[in-house]
Structures are given as C-alpha cells and as structure tokens.
Subunit: 337 residues, 2 copies
Amino acid sequence: MTTLAQARVAMKHGAGGRSMRKLIERVFLAGATGVAADMDDGAAIRVGDQWLIVTTDSHVIQPIVFPGGDIGRLSVAGTVNDLAMMGATEPLGLTCGIVLEEGFAIDDLERIQASIRATCADAATSIVAGDTKVMRRGEVDGVVINTSGVALTRRVVRDRGLQPGDAVIVTGTVGDHGMAVMAVRHEFQFGESLTSDVAPLNGLIRAALAAGGDGITAMKDPTRGGVASALHEMADKAGVSILLREEAIPVRATVRAAAELLGIDPLFIANEGKALIGVRPGQAEGVLTALHMHPLGRDAAVIGTCLAESPGSIVLDTGFGQRLLSEPDGELLPRIC
Amino acid sequence: MTTLAQARVAMKHGAGGRSMRKLIERVFLAGATGVAADMDDGAAIRVGDQWLIVTTDSHVIQPIVFPGGDIGRLSVAGTVNDLAMMGATEPLGLTCGIVLEEGFAIDDLERIQASIRATCADAATSIVAGDTKVMRRGEVDGVVINTSGVALTRRVVRDRGLQPGDAVIVTGTVGDHGMAVMAVRHEFQFGESLTSDVAPLNGLIRAALAAGGDGITAMKDPTRGGVASALHEMADKAGVSILLREEAIPVRATVRAAAELLGIDPLFIANEGKALIGVRPGQAEGVLTALHMHPLGRDAAVIGTCLAESPGSIVLDTGFGQRLLSEPDGELLPRIC
C-alpha cells in the first residue's frame, strides 16, 4: 500500500482534475476553514459593503507562443477571468511574478511584456506590482509567470450556486485553446489553423451580469480538464445533476475534426476564453441575447439544464440516447496553461 | 556593442540590485505610469478612504530547508513584510501559487504547508486562494512558490520618503539569512550554527508605527543585496545621502566571523526578518524604545542619519574615517530567497 507519506507529485496533480483536488484537500486544506476551503476561482473577503476578490494563477505553458496567444496574454486573461467568474469584472489591478531561466532571450521577454500590456488594455486593467527571480540554466524551463488579481464587487457569484431548473450556458465554442496548443506542440497539419481562444472575459461577463442580475447563479471558466471537468465540479458542489444536449454544444469544425482524428472529446479539452454560466430559467434568454451582442459571445448557447436527481452526475443527451459523461482526471496535456 | 535585443537574462537580473532594476525599467516599465512605476515593495490602490496594498513575490530558495526556516516560512514572511513596509500590518489574506516538479515528495510538500500555516498564524493571517501546477521532471528544480498579499491601511509608508535629518533605524542584526543559507549550501563548519532571521515583521512594524506615527517617513526590508542595496535605493529615490556609523550596526558575532572569513561585508548579505526605518529625529527615541520591547526588535539600533548633500550616496563612518559604501549589483548568492 502506498501511503501519502511515500507518495510523490505526479503530472496529474497539476492537471486540474480529481487528483489535483484530492492533493489540495489533503495537503493544502488540511484543517482549513473559511474562504480557502471553498476552492472557488478566488477568495471573497468582506471590505465595507463590498467584497474584495483575490485570485492567483501560475502559468507554465509550453510552448510560450502558440496560435492565438502567448504566455503573457494567457497570464493576464487567466487572472482577469478568475476574478470575473466571481462576479468581479473591474480588476483594481494585477500582480506579476516572473521566474526566468538564466539565458532567456531578453527580446522574448520584451514580447511577453508587450503582450501582457496589450491584454491588460483589453481588460481595462494594469500590472500594479511585480517581482523578478532568475534561476540557473536547467533549473527552470524558460519562464514561469504568476499573476494574482484583486477586484471589488457588490455581489459574489460562486461556482457552487447552480439550482435545479437553471439553464447552463457556454459563452462560445469549446476546446479551442487545448487543441491549438496540442497541434503546435505535436506539429499537426490541418487545412485551417487551430487557434487558441485565450481572451479576458470581464467585458463579456459584465454584459451577462447586467442582463441576468441575480438570475445568474453560478459561473466557472472551463480551463484545465475542459467543460467536462468544470461541470462536474459545479454539479458536485451544488448537489445537482446537469443534462447536456450534445448537439447544442458549439465546437469549431476544425476542432471537431482534429478531436475526432485524435479520439478526444472536445468537452475534455482546455479553454482560456470561455465561461460556463448557470442562469435561472426566466433570465436565460436575456443573458443569451446579451452574450450574442458581444464579440466574444457570438457563439454562446444554452447547452443544458440542472436537475435535482442524481446529484453530481453529468448526463449527455446525444440525440440517440443518454450517457453519463465521466469526470476526467484533469487535463490530457501537461503545461496547457 | 551588445544591444538589449541580443541580450540574455543573467543571474544578476534576479539579484535585487542595479542590473535587476535596469531590466525592470527597460522591459517591464517601458511606458508605464502610475503605481507600478513607483517600484516600491508593493502597490497602493485607493479604496474608499483607505489604501489597498497589493504585493507579490516568487520564492526560489535553494535549499528549501535551511537553519531557521524553509521556503514555506520564507514565502509567507516575505509577503507579510512587503505589506508591512508599506504601512499595512494587518494582511487581509495571502495567495499561494505553487509550481512543483514531478516526483517531488508529498511529505516534503506537507512539511512546507505546515510551515506556511504556522507562519500565517504568527502573522495573524491566512492563505485565502491558491493554485497548483506541476512541471515535468527536470523542468523546474523542486518547488517554486509565489505569494501575493493584500491589506488595507489608512496611511501608506513609501520607501522613498526619507528626509534630511531623519534617523535610520535597523530593527536587528544584519546578514543572518544570507549567511545561514550560504553556510548550509557550502557546508561551512562553525562553532555556533548560523540561523536565518526569517520572520513576519507585521507585529513589530505595528508597534513602530504606533510609537512613531507620521514621524516614520520610509521603510524597506533589506532582502536581496542586504542593507547596502536597500539603503542605496532609499537614498536614490529620496534624493538624500545617508551617513552610517559602522560601530552602531548590529551584527551577530558568528555572522561577523563567517563574513570576515569569506571577505564579505555583512551589509551586502540578505535579511528576511529585518526592516530599515526612517524616522524624524524627534520620534526616533520613541520608535527605538517600542522596537526594543518587541521580541523581534531587541537589537534595533539607530545606524545613521540622512543628509541633504551628495544625494544617493551612502557614507560609512568607520570610526577611523569615512568611506563611500558602494552599491552592490544585488545579491552575492543566487536563489537566496
């Protein structure tokens, strides 16, 4: 029997799935209470009559430049999106801690920095504090970037808020980021290039919140482990099941083709510019309309409904029948974000 | 001629000194304005009638366990201290982003986590949000920890606030952290063991602020590059010079002996549990008394005075004469914090 004391960290412990959650619960949350124990996209701290949302993410993506983005854009978007998923769409600012490998080209660093700045401009925020460390050659692979973010909000949206009857909306096509990184890493050849969806979503989420108000019950961005992993976590925490209509799930033709070729379900592939939104049935149409009017929400769709029975399960209606969607143990690919 | 475009990151770019500041100014602050351009220990953002202080630090220390502490204690103390140096002594919470190497022992991770929790308890704060990433074997050396912190304060203390006439106080002995890490890394043999001073200083700083009030004009923790580097930065930014009395600078006998053996000035060695405090002359005695009453401030001493002439220079009065203290290009040792 392998005890935890003899155990070692494996790739799956950073993959965003069940193994990671178990590691976090066992090691980091042992005895923890309060905000950290929520394991949401960030923490909510009461400040006066508002909530201060605080999030953090380290970015280890490889390669650091990929179709549609780079580690700089990813770092800013990832943190802006974690804030937005908690209902905080106006970041007060981000921090940026960069760990560099000795020998890293300074012009690459300048390109990353330009990308960080451009993405901050997209999201109407800025880097307010930073830190730089250098490790010797061979001690770290290129660059690792941590971004943390802070924002105030009057209402916190949790990833655990789904209720029976809620519509589940995805704000656009699924699997774009992971498939783009997979393609460039393995030098796949496809007719049309695959492109990451990496983007800051705070503007889109602001539009959704303006339309849906309190009718928006839960939000989560389906990053590592894709839509399948995020929905499992949302359903588990809320004690509901989700019935998904497969035909309603938007997938780019190129992503679908590549995924079929590789035998991978697009629902299991990472996204970096999409959100899952739970909405009370009466507000779903209004939220969907608002999303469609935003450039990042044109392909938004209602993909499922929450049910009270079989809490925690995700049922996929394929059009020919129904099957349970398994919970992936995180992301298929290491260093996807 | 080497242009920056052809240049590569060197160890000195992460060493906390002049090269690092130049890199940051050239790459990260190109065109930047506002809070980030201050290059202080953290950013100050107006929230209602208070300031939200936000800081970030990545920790790459090697070895991860050293006499007096470990990477967990260092990560928490480093961020608590950056907040405290800005005048914010009651952290609302910290974030913790951990990057692990595949194969890292989970019991080591549990030890780090226990140390993080204990140090948070020392500082009356907690980790409110986290992130875990895993890189493949050989892609990162063991573990890298980023901690960011948030705190509110009504008054921000800057590292640039020194005025002619101010007393400069150091809160205790200098060089302890760097010398302890150096000793364990190079397996020095000394009669008495060298121990890091790593500690959260927010309680000590709270006592100093209570005693000194608006009389406290500037604070900085002398980490990478030691007291010499921190004083140079403070003097540069404030446009003052500092006259130091060498005999007043507290140095442990063991640190002094080891430093002499190695031909290193303790003023150039990193500290992780000390602060430099600028105080108006009228309040210096009161602040010193308050520091002496705190367990972490028993060896506090007035070590110098700020002067208007020769802005930016640090003059060391050795008792036999005066000499200029050079500005180190950061830390002597890589991965000291």
